[in-house]
Amino acid sequence: MLVLVIATALIPFQLTVIPTYLIFSEAGLTDTLGALIVPSLASAVGIYLMTSFFQSFPKELEEAARIDGCSRFGVFFRVVLPVARPAMAALAVITFITAWNDLFWPLVAINSEANFTVQAGLTTFQGQHRADWPAIMAGTVLTTLPVLAVFLFGQRRFVQALTGAVKG
């Protein structure tokens, strides 16, 4: 199962984009933010990252908690999760950057400017104000700042997660 999930990371999104669009248009969800949120609720890369963390988690600690009368879910929420915070922080940084920077799917799924994400919005500067470079520059700077702030804030975790995932 895990291998299957991770293998999906190798399927190019462009292969699945046409049917994915059809799924959402059948459900009447195109041009809503839901169409943007649902497919990215879980990512194969994220699962891979967290799996490699959980596998390195000492089993003895889990067993000790079980013996002390903790339920299975209790073990997860009270013992494992607090220790997993750094890994989750790394995943949060990666997920934020990916979602913020995505252009392809928002362009496909969204038609009305009211529901555009930042990147899709940025591209509208291009057509309408071909020569309005100051506006484009301002837009670029403004949309880059949040990503830069998150990255600088979580840089260490981000780099650790990247390199850790490769070694794992």
Partner: protein, 308 residues
């Protein structure tokens, strides 16, 4: 004791463990289930669907009719498709070696105790995290033929003005360079982490044996970062084959289809030309190509690893 009683006793003995395993399974699936469902639902299901679509003339609005292999046959005579394959191939051939070599060299340079080293490392990663849209817009400005900074520089240096993104013979090269600039920081970070793990003893031993710094690089560093090289190659192939955002925000495939990549072509076919069935066929060819490239690459890497 009769045999039935024995097996009943055994079964009774086994029961608690079975129940615990069942409990573990239920807990496990309730954790892993929802995410797996989302991922498989948005990958395997659409994948099968795309295969079905590629045999139809669907236009996304009305259910298409079955046209058999006509889409795949049409590919062979499609000049834009051939152009897209050539463009994507050029990107792969230039980008992968360039990012590996530059990435490793920069990583070696950064792997020393210099003041403010963290700052330099950050600098190399920043282009990687800035969105391709922002990069594309800015680069479109820099590489503009008429008022871009690049041609301004050429004029200052007394060089002729270049067509850059407006010149069919240069546009794809310029895009490749931009793509390289945004991506090679990733290779730097991965290589740097690997180099830092090489044990000091090995490097000292090399130094004591009188190895020059080139020999150390060639015979100690390059072999020890081999797993990273393989990873970065696979990653780079996937990344480069999905080259879309920069095309969209700079040239939109032009001039004269000079920068149409396979992915961009799929998007055009499905969402602007209303030929989703044909688009799905192109996407499938891309997928088969990716898979073939990666599998042969890994096989070659493994064979070399076994003999060398």
């Amino acid at each position: 004791m009769s045999s039935t009683a024995l097996s009943a006793a055994r079964a009774g003995h086994r029961q608690p463990r079975d129940r615990r395993r069942l409990g573990d399974n239920v807990a496990g699936w309730s954790f892993a289930g929802p995410a797996s469902l989302v991922i498989l639902g948005f990958s395997l299901v659409p994948m099968a669907w795309a295969l079905a679509l590629s045999f139809t003339d669907s236009d996304l609005m009305t259910p298409g009719t079955n046209v058999g292999l006509a889409n795949y046959r049409a590919l062979l005579d499609d000049d834009v498709f051939l152009q897209a394959v050539t463009n994507t191939g050029l990107l792969l051939v230039l980008y992968i070696p360039a990012s590996l070599i530059t990435g490793l060299l920069v990583a070696v340079l950064l792997n020393r105790k210099v003041r403010g080293i963290g700052f330099y490392r950050t600098c190399f990663l920043v282009p990687y995290i800035v969105s391709a849209t922002a990069t594309g817009l800015l680069m479109g400005y820099i590489f503009d033929r008429d008022f871009g900074l690049m041609n301004g520089l050429f004029v200052q240096l007394g060089l002729p003005v270049q067509g850059l993104l407006s010149d069919p013979s240069q546009a794809m090269l310029v895009l490749t360079a931009i793509f390289f600039w945004t991506r090679f920081g990733f290779a730097v970070v991965i290589y740097l982490a690997a180099i830092q793990e090489i044990s000091k003893e090995v490097l000292e031993a090399a130094a004591i044996d009188g190895a020059s710094s080139w020999a150390t690089f060639r015979h100690v560093i390059v072999p020890s970062v081999r797993p990273m090289t393989i990873f970065l190659t696979v990653w780079g192939v996937i990344d480069a084959l999905q080259f879309f955002d920069l095309v969209m925000t700079t040239t939109k495939g032009g001039p004269a289809n000079a920068t149409v990549t396979i992915v961009y072509y799929v998007w055009q076919l499905a969402f602007t030309f209303n030929t989703a069935g044909y688009g799905a066929a192109v996407a499938y060819v891309l997928f088969a190509g990716t898979l073939a490239l990666i599998v042969t690459g890994l096989l070659i890497a493994r064979r070399r690893g076994a003999t060398g």
